[in-house]
Subunit: 225 residues, 2 copies
DNA sequence: TAGATTGTTAATCGATTAACAATC
DNA sequence: TAGATTGTTAATCGATTAACAATC
């Protein structure tokens, strides 16, 4: 049973794994509060209706080593997930678009725990510039690229309308930003060294909508009135 | 080349397909504005860097029939996607949790186009009840289940803190709601006839965080200072 | 010791991609 | 007609699940 250190360059981690790890992390932190010291894949799998094997595969990428018969030491496991997901090195981020979604995100104070610190917010609307939102002053967008470069900002959050998103993305990249969390309903055209995460609520809603529509269709067939 | 009508009961549509269709839909509507009449999978694939075959497979689920050599008639294709995704039968929804995220969602006026109409918003905070947000009065949460049942509401949106989410979900289901769009960072325990869509921004952020952390690690290795 | 769980390899499943005849 | 694109089947790829020896 030799064990190789996981080398992230060889193979990128599956996206489903990346999205399950924070779920596990949350649960395991709860267990720690309840003074558990070990947790098994069976425990985690039962909580989220997942196969223990899948949980084990997921945890494997963090490099954690477990004990047969008992599971994984909780404190070490939490640390391994946090280290792997980059929660420890908190990165500073700029947010552009101080509308209601932007304001909501500025207010998410737990983002810090996940490696994100929104240090400034920008807008192009004179009515918004200078206003304070959740303790942060909204700055003029034209200041953003220079500030980003000076402050070595790596992450940008886009919460502007779709029509302005590409322009904002270009400015961010100009300022040295290399990862964009995009809430605008637009696919951004960027070079492929830029990480883009689309949070397109309309697409998510469309998927929900289809399932509801299908459920209604099936129900109508089963009970013809 | 016989063609069977797609029967949604036989096989559920892959989630990736459901999330790509609205993207195509948006693009094709743009093309229609520019007076295109036909669009091919090659066109769509080039726009989004996808294989034409994949686009074709995706469009197939809508039942649209194309013309070899020219592609799909734009107007019919838009109609087919909208019908398939359930954009035509707009469903009424209740939103619970009038915090900043709730307020942002109430303000998303395009949700109607995707089959969702937020008709009422609720909260348990006396300070919020009675307030008007984006033209909608915030109601007391205790009124929600009865109102949902009387108004035949099918969709619930949860934007409360994680600690309250399960309780809200239970109330929604009690009111006859069968589909939940959950923005709280919690996995809801519901019976499996309830559709749950988790919009867990922390998980999404964690995935972004990991990629940024990895990019930084690689960069550090490539340029040792 | 007995048995539950780990680590790891193999099999399965589902989604993507390739191949190609049909066709406009 | 020639050739691009559809519709459809087969091959590939990647993620999930199953199997099982090692082990505490």
């Amino acid at each position: 049973m030799k064990r190789l250190i996981y080398d992230a360059r060889l193979k990128s981690v599956p996206e489903p794994t990346l999205r399950r790890l924070p779920i596990y992390h949350r649960y395991i932190k709860e267990l720690k509060k309840d003074h558990w010291t070990f947790v098994s894949c069976t425990d985690i799998g039962e909580e989220f209706k997942l196969e223990p094997t899948q949980v084990r595969k997921d945890l494997e990428v963090t490099g954690i080593v477990g004990k047969p018969r008992v599971g994984y030491p909780i404190a070490a496991l939490i640390a391994a997930i946090e280290e792997f997901l980059g929660f420890n090195n908190v990165n500073e981020a700029f947010l552009v678009g101080a509308g209601s979604m932007g304001a909501a995100l500025i207010g998410y104070d737990k983002f810090q725990d996940y490696g994100l610190n929104i240090v400034a917010a920008f807008d192009n609307d004179a009515a918004k510039i200078g206003k304070i939102v959740h303790g942060k002053t909204i700055l003029a967008i034209h200041k953003m690229p220079d500030m980003a470069r000076k402050m070595h900002i790596l992450i940008g959050i886009i919460t502007v309308p779709g029509s302005a998103a590409q322009e904002v993305a270009d400015l961010m990249i100009q300022g040295g930003i290399c990862a964009i969390w995009n809430f605008a309903p637009v696919r951004l055209r960027v070079s492929d060294n830029i990480i883009v995460h689309n949070e397109d609520l309309y697409c998510s809603l469309a998927s929900l909508s289809q399932k509801v529509a299908q459920a209604i269709r099936l129900r109508a067939e089963e009970m013809p009135s």
